[in-house]
Symmetry: C2
Subunit: 415 residues, 2 copies
C-alpha cells in the first residue's frame, strides 16, 4: 500500500509546524511555497526601515527542514485545486491525499487598482525592500530638492492602518528620521520629518484592550507621529493622499490597512469571511472538502464562544501541530485531542524603547514591555544563526543610535 | 573669498580616499554617487552566491563620512559635464572648481543588446541580487523540472570571463552546488551541476604571473569546473550559449568578460583607451581639462615605464589620497610629492580553501594564500560592524559547510 501523500501549501509558522508534526508519521509530506524561504513577518518592518537584513529574518525552507526524511520541498505558485490534485506553475499537477492550506494573508487595497503602486503593503521581503528604498530614497530626494514644498513633501510619510504593522512602521520611520536626519544630512538636518498614522476605526491596535490602544497612540505622539483615528483614505495620487480629514502631501505612503486570503475560498468552493479567510471546523477541516485543512492566518477558526483564533504566530504554530495530530489519529484509527488554544498574548513595539501588549492575560507597557518584546522575538526567530545576528544588530544599533542596514537597492536606485 | 568647491563623483575606494584626504583642507567637498552606499566590490561575488548579505559589504556613504565637517553627500546620477558645472538628475546644475572623477567601471557586453538580460554582469548590489535569484532559482527549477534535459540545462552555469570575478564566481557556484544539492534537494540530489568557465584569451587571471593562472585553472578543475580557454562567446539565447568550441545548454549565464568606463571620455572630450578609461597625467589630471582629475578604475595612469596602475582597491585609495595632496599643494602654492604606487599585490580566491595571488611581489597559492585572502579582505572592509559580521558569516558557513544568505528575492521570485 502506498503511503498517504500530505501536501502543505505555505512555509510560514503554521506550515512548518504541520510539517514538523508529521516528522515520524508514515506519510510523504510535500511542502510548497511561492518563495524559497520561511519569513519571520513580525520583524519585517525592521527590514523596511533599515534595521535588519533580509537574511536575518528569513531562512531557506529547505535548510530548516533538511533533516526530515519523509519531506520534500517545492518552490512554486499554486494556481488551482482540482479533485485530489493541485495545479502549480512550472510543474505537472501534484496529487494529494490530504491538503493543508497555510498560505497566510496578502495585502488588500480593496480593489483600488492604482494604490498598490502608490502605497506598497508589507507582507514579503520584496515588499520590505521596496519600502526601504522608498523611505531612504525620500530623505535623499529631500536633500536634493529645489523647493521648500518639495522638501516637505519628500519628508512626509503616511502610514495607513492602525494595527500592529502600522503602529510599528510609524514608530520606526519617526525614529529613523529623527536619528539620521540630524547626523547625516546637511540641508535638511534641521527639518522635521512628518509621520502621519491614519486609521479608519476609532482607535489603534483593536485586538488589544482599549487602554493599550490609547497608550500606543500616546507613545507614538511622543515620538512626533500624528495619529489620525476615524480617518479614511479616499484617494491617492503621486503627490499625496486624500483623507476624510483633508489632503496630506506625502511622497511615501505605506499600506497596512487591509489583508486578504487571496482566492483560496473560490478555489476550494469554501465558506469565507469578508477577508477571504476560510471557515474551518474545530479540527481545522474545511467543511465539504474531505481531506482538506486550513491553518494559520488563511483560516477562520472559532471556539465554542465564537471567538476567532487570532492571527499571531503562536496560534499558527499550535494549529499546525494540531492538524498533524489529526492526520496521525486518522492513520491509527484513534481520536485526536481537542484543540485548545494557549493564548500567550500579543504585542506591538513603538520605537526603540517602548511596547504595549497582553502577555498571558496581563497588560504590559513601556520599557519593560519593550524588553519583553525583544526577548520574545529573538526566541521565536527560526535558527540559532538568526537569533545571534538579530541580537547583534539590535545591541549595535541601540548603542550607536542608528539602524545598520540602510541600503537603497532595486528599481528605485535606477529610477 | 569663497572656498574652493571640490566635487567628487563616485563613492568607491578612490572617491572616499580623496574625500578623506581633503578633511582638513579649506575647501567645500561634495561627494556625488548614484547609489547611497559605498560597496566593497571584491566580495560582491559572495553576495551573488548567497554567502553574504548586501549590508555586510556596503555602508551608507553618509554614515561613513558623517564626521567630516567640510563635506556634503548627494545621491544623484551625473548625466553631463559643462564648463565648471555638472548636470545631474533631480537637482539643479552643480558648480565646481575642481572635479575628481572616481566613477569606476560598469559591465560591457560589447554592444550586444540582448546579452545584459541573458547574462548579467556583477558590479552593483542589484547585479548581485539578480544573479543570486537566478542561481538559487536554477536549483529550484531543476528540482521541479519535468525532463532530464530540462534538469541538466537548469543545473548548467556558464561564467564568461577568466579574470578574478569570473574565477571567483565559477569556484563559488561550483561549491554552492556541491554543498547544497546533496543536503537539501531530493530529485536532483545525486545530480552534478555543470559549471563552465569560458575565457577568450589563452589563460586565466592575465594580471598574475602565468604559473598562477595555471594553478587557478587546476584548482577550479579540482572543484569540478570546466575551464575553456581560447573560447569566445558568439551568441546567446534563452536556452544557452554558442561558443567557438560549440554550444552549451545553460539556464544561467554570468558575464564577467568586459568592463567599460561608460561615456566619461566623451562627456569630458578626453583621451581614452578602448575600455573608455580616461588617460591621466602623473598627478591624475585630465589633459586639456584644467581642474579635472580622474582616479580609480575610470582612469588610465601609466608610470615612466609605461606600466598601467592596476584596477585594485589599494591603487584606487592611493590615487585618491594623492589627488587630495595635489589640491592642497595648489592651495598652499607648494608642489605635491611625486605619486609612487605601493604595490601590495593582488589575489583571487578559488572556492572556500584555496587562493592564488602576488603579495608584495611574492606568489602565494593554496590554503595559506586563502587565509591571507580572508585576512586582507576583512582588513579592507569599511567599518568595524562589517568586519565583525563578515567574519562571523565566514566562520559560521565554514563550520556548517553552507552559505547562510540563500534568499530568492526580486523579479524572479514573482516571475
Amino acid at each position: 500500500m502506498s503511503r498517504l501523500r500530505v501536501v502543505i501549501v505555505g512555509g510560514g509558522f503554521a506550515g512548518l509546524a504541520a510539517a514538523r508534526g508529521l516528522d515520524r508519521s508514515p506519510v510523504d509530506v510535500l511542502l510548497i511555497d511561492r518563495t524559497n524561504h520561511h519569513l519571520f513577518q513580525p520583524l519585517l518592518y525592521q527590514v523596511a526601515t533599515g534595521g535588519l537584513s533580509p537574511a536575518e529574518i528569513a531562512q531557506p525552507i529547505r535548510a530548516i527542514l533538511q533533516g526530515q526524511k519523509n519531506l520534500s520541498v517545492l518552490m512554486a505558485d499554486v494556481v488551482g485545486v482540482e479533485e485530489g490534485r493541485l495545479i502549480v506553475s512550472g510543474s505537472p499537477p501534484i496529487p494529494f491525499d490530504r491538503l493543508i492550506l497555510a498560505t497566510g494573508l496578502v495585502p488588500s487595497w480593496f480593489g483600488n487598482e492604482s494604490w498598490p503602486e502608490r502605497a506598497p503593503g508589507l507582507k514579503s521581503l520584496d515588499d520590505a525592500l521596496e519600502l526601504r528604498a522608498r523611505i531612504l530614497g525620500a530623505f535623499e530626494r529631500a536633500e536634493a530638492a529645489e523647493s521648500a514644498e518639495e522638501r516637505e513633501r519628500r519628508l512626509c510619510f503616511v502610514v495607513v492602518g492602525g494595527g500592529p504593522t502600522g503602529v510599528e512602521m510609524a514608530g520606526a520611520v519617526a525614529e529613523l528620521a529623527r536619528r539620521v536626519l540630524r547626523l547625516e544630512f546637511d540641508r535638511i538636518a534641521d527639518q522635521t520629518a512628518r509621520v502621519v498614522l491614519v486609521e479608519a476605526g476609532p482607535r489603534l491596535l483593536p485586538m488589544l484592550p482599549e487602554p493599550l490602544g490609547r497608550r500606543a497612540a500616546d507613545d507614538l505622539r511622543a515620538l512626533g507621529v500624528e495619529v489620525l483615528t476615524e480617518t479614511r483614505v479616499e484617494q491617492m495620487d503621486d503627490q499625496g493622499v486624500e483623507t476624510t480629514q483633508g489632503r496630506i502631501e506625502a511622497a511615501t505612503v505605506v499600506w497596512a490597512a487591509g489583508l486578504t486570503a487571496e482566492a483560496w475560498g473560490e478555489r476550494l468552493a469554501a465558506e469565507t469571511d469578508r477577508m477571504g479567510r476560510i471557515v474551518v471546523d474545530r479540527d481545522f477541516r474545511i467543511p465539504g472538502r474531505p481531506g482538506c485543512f486550513a491553518i494559520g492566518d488563511v483560516a477562520l477558526w472559532r471556539d465554542s464562544k465564537g471567538a476567532a483564533l487570532p492571527g499571531v504566530s503562536p496560534a499558527a504554530k499550535q494549529a499546525g501541530t494540531h492538524v498533524a495530530k489529526v492526520i496521525q489519529a486518522e492513520l491509527s484509527g484513534g481520536r485526536p485531542p481537542e484543540f485548545r488554544y494557549l493564548d500567550k498574548g500579543t504585542m506591538a513595539t513603538i520605537g526603540r524603547s517602548r511596547a504595549v501588549g497582553v502577555v498571558f492575560g496581563r497588560s504590559v507597557t513601556g520599557f519593560l514591555a519593550w524588553l519583553l518584546w525583544l526577548a520574545v522575538h529573538i526566541l521565536y526567530l527560526v535558527g540559532f544563526r538568526s537569533k545571534l545576528l538579530v541580537f547583534f544588530q539590535w545591541v549595535w544599533s541601540y548603542l550607536l543610535n542608528r539602524p545598520g542596514v540602510r541600503l537603497i537597492t532595486g528599481r528605485l536606485r535606477r529610477g
